[in-house]
Amino acid sequence: MWTPEETQVVFLALRVALTVVAVALLPGLGVAWVLARWESRWSLLLRGVVMLPLVLPPVVTGYVLLRLFGRRSALGELWFAVTGNHIAYTTAACVLAAAVVGFPLLVESMRLSLAAVDPRLEAVSRTLGRGPWATFRSVTLPLAWPGVVAGAVLAFARALGEFGATIVLAGNIEGETRQIPVAVYTLLNQPGSTAAVTRLTLVSVALSLAALLAAAWFGGRRQRRFAG
């Protein structure tokens, strides 16, 4: 039957996915806004860099991250100085891997919905005495809201399914970095664990489906009111 290890796997997966959304949301919104509103060669380059993890094999992305945040890299040393730990093979590595891989999905959904907001509405808002930030908060964001939520949900779902970059950067440590896909992969290599694989598969399907439905619901729904 259901084991404590499986509970641990599922909760770790949810924790990582939620952290990914929390960490990537604001930077993603910022990048999406820049891409939606600034037209220049540089924004094209930025878009390319952001989109890269979408087309790179995740294992390669994981290796690039390992080099970037490894023990002898500048970013790795910075991380060590701040946290007192090396990032590789920790839960933080799971978050980093899933965030980088999910970032393009998050940004693209937000970019499309921000680009769809009529800039003339923003101009009118400015002439009515609302500054750039107030205009963003009270005009741009509410109108782009369905896409912003959909982007967050997509990143969440992508984090739940992340395998390639995670296995390279975070490994397969029980209770620390073993989430659903890695756990399923591990169980598949152990004879007699078909039932456990099925259970985790069903949980995985249910969570992914719920996330996609949530994305569709928020995406299709016209946001009538926006608090704040």
Partner: protein
Amino acid sequence: MIRAELIQRRRDFTLDVAFESAGPVLGVFGHSGSGKTTLLHALAGLTRSERARVHVKGEVLSERPGGVSLAPERRGLALVPQEPLLFPHLSIRENLTFARGAAREFAGEHGAKVLDVLRLRDLLDREPETLSGGEKQRVSLGRAWLSRPRMLLLDKPAASLDADLAREVVALLMHAKRELDVPMVFVTHRPSELIALADDCIVLEAGRIVAQGAPLEVLSKPKALGLARLVGIDNLMELAVVRHDAEAGLTLLDLGGGAELATPLCEVRAGATTSVGLYAEDIILCRELPGATSARNNLAGVVVAVDPIGHEVLVTLSVGRIELQARVTPGAARELGLEVGQPAFALIKTTACHHLH
């Protein structure tokens, strides 16, 4: 009221203007592509100008190059765009109170006046998408007024509306001009709106000012006459002056075939020719002559063409040696049984005839 010097160079267009006006309503006239909207956006600080000196009511809003350039939100120049552009996610009440400090204005005396003048009270709890075009434009105007602007920037506020609604919006603006005391820069391509609203006007062509002065004076210049033809005074006629009747305040012009057109008294000597402009919507058509009316012109003619255009019908009537175009609704055309070859009368008020010299 306003003094401005603006230079804005773009790849395919250059705006280069300098003007000063006492207002309170400065009309900006010109056909599409002449730079009217570009001028408004430059005044509002929404676009970058190479040179931008903008002073409104003695306040320096921009002094570029070299000096300050206030952000749009600090200029107090509320923009009323051609399309109403209400915030779709907010109710009408929320749209009206959107501007900084507008909630307080809304609750106060000024707010009450704005709501009354623009007849907004019944709309407050509606959603933008349920409003008609004219209602939306009223809300857009109210939203701008409630921001207590130094000045309003109106970008063809009636252009996207059909003739009746456009007239209603212009009437509201005239009312508001009297009641609400806010100076305006008013962009239009309709001479009638210019004459109705503006105290002073500039005429733009290809990003430059080609004329400035009182609307009637500016419109009467030959340059503006060419412009008027471009922007749709439907009936433009070169007619000889028959005689003046100073007592009745009329100048009679020869239409040929014994027909005469009574126009407002002008100074062109008898025998000389003058240019007269007349809007197609200012002509009333009828099958039989009514009794006494204030219209000085009851011209008998023959229908030579009936052209449905969108929601309107353009009827061409042959009178004397000229042809007059009149705009009527399809319903009116049906009811009158207007068909080619039939006789009809054109009723025209003297004041609908604009002398353009």
